[in-house]
């Protein structure tokens, strides 16, 4: 089962990378109000149901893929 994890800097956490991207977009003439830079992880997960896949990936996020102090995550299971 294909599962996508989106890891984002938590709301309210300073994201200097996002700020630099926003500044650069402004220089190109794009008037974006804000930019935040996160990370995307595609996983191939062996699980009988999408609920089980989600549960597995949630543990992966908590233990490795995200640092809960500064990052939030979102899990998307393909086809659900």
């Amino acid at each position: 089962m294909r599962v996508t994890v989106l890891v984002r800097p938590k709301q309210g956490i300073l994201d200097p990378q996002g700020d630099a991207v926003r500044g650069s977009l402004h220089k190109l003439g794009f008037a974006v109000g804000g930019a935040r830079v996160g990370r995307l992880v595609d996983l191939e997960v062996d699980a009988p149901t999408s609920q089980e896949a989600t549960a597995q990936v949630e543990r992966m996020c908590q233990e490795l893929l995200a640092n809960p102090l500064i990052e939030s995550f979102e899990i998307e299971v393909e086809g659900t």
């Binding site: 956490i13 200097p16 490795l64 102090l69």
Partner: protein, 231 residues
């Protein structure tokens, strides 16, 4: 004759300061041994461990996030749980945070710049194995060289750490946007300490400052005491 206590300096793929650390510790009276990350045990009679600077595992995912799974880390946890002193420098600090042995996390520097220069630091307390040769409030000059050294803890955790006196070392000048200008923190038991500055690069006045020797020599003292106590 004073004994040379054994201090293990870990070496991960991508470490690059392990030789400087081992050299400095040896010059300060320790028997420093380089230990490969895949080892499952530390050398016999290891009294302390140093996790050196560098870019372990290419800083993949997050700095230190992969190194925490190295086999040798289990032995380090064991030594730390038994009260043995463990020092993490720069990438070593990042690894100890990711491994949950130290509180907080190191993030990208506020200004996105790689900071590489001597910085002024303030020692907050001297009642630890790492700062016993310093006075509280003493200023040290030690170089930093990092792109992801901005230490972060949320308000609640920060207040907790401040109350328990774990924020041992602060920048005495603006450096990288760390919360509370924190440059180094220790665990509750005060035997695990991590800092972004590199004391191993400041052990000889010829190189600009000898202040790093104060921290490392205190670690050697603690390791020696531990070795004598075990004998």
């Amino acid at each position: 004759m004073s004994i040379r206590p054994k201090i293990a300096v870990l070496r991960f793929p991508g470490s690059n300061d392990e030789r400087d650390a081992a050299w400095a510790l040896s010059a300060l009276g320790a028997d420093a041994q380089l230990v490969w990350h895949a080892e499952e045990t530390l050398p016999r009679d290891t009294a302390a461990v140093v996790l050196p600077g560098g870019f372990s595992y290419g800083d993949y995912l997050r700095c230190g996030a992969i190194a925490r799974f190295a086999p040798v880390l289990d032995a380090v946890r064991e030594l730390a749980a038994a009260g043995g002193p463990v020092l993490g420098i720069c990438n070593g600090f990042q690894i100890l945070c990711e491994a949950g042995l130290l509180p907080g996390v190191l993030r990208r520097n506020r200004d996105l710049e790689f900071v590489c220069r001597d910085v002024r630091l303030r020692v907050e307390r001297s009642d630890t194995a790492f700062t016993a040769r310093c006075e509280p409030g003493q200023e040290l000059i030690i170089p930093v060289k990092h792109g992801e050294g901005s230490w972060y803890a949320d308000e609640e955790l920060y207040a907790e750490l401040e109350a328990s006196g774990q924020l041992m070392l602060r920048y005495a000048e603006d450096c990288n946007g760390s919360v509370g200008d924190v440059a180094g923190v220790c665990n509750e038991a005060r035997n695990v300490f991590g800092l972004m500055p590199h004391p191993e690069h400041a052990v000889d006045p010829l190189l600009g400052s000898g202040d790093g020797a104060l921290l490392l020599a205190a670690l050697v003292d603690a390791a020696r005491e531990r070795t004598l106590a075990a004998a």
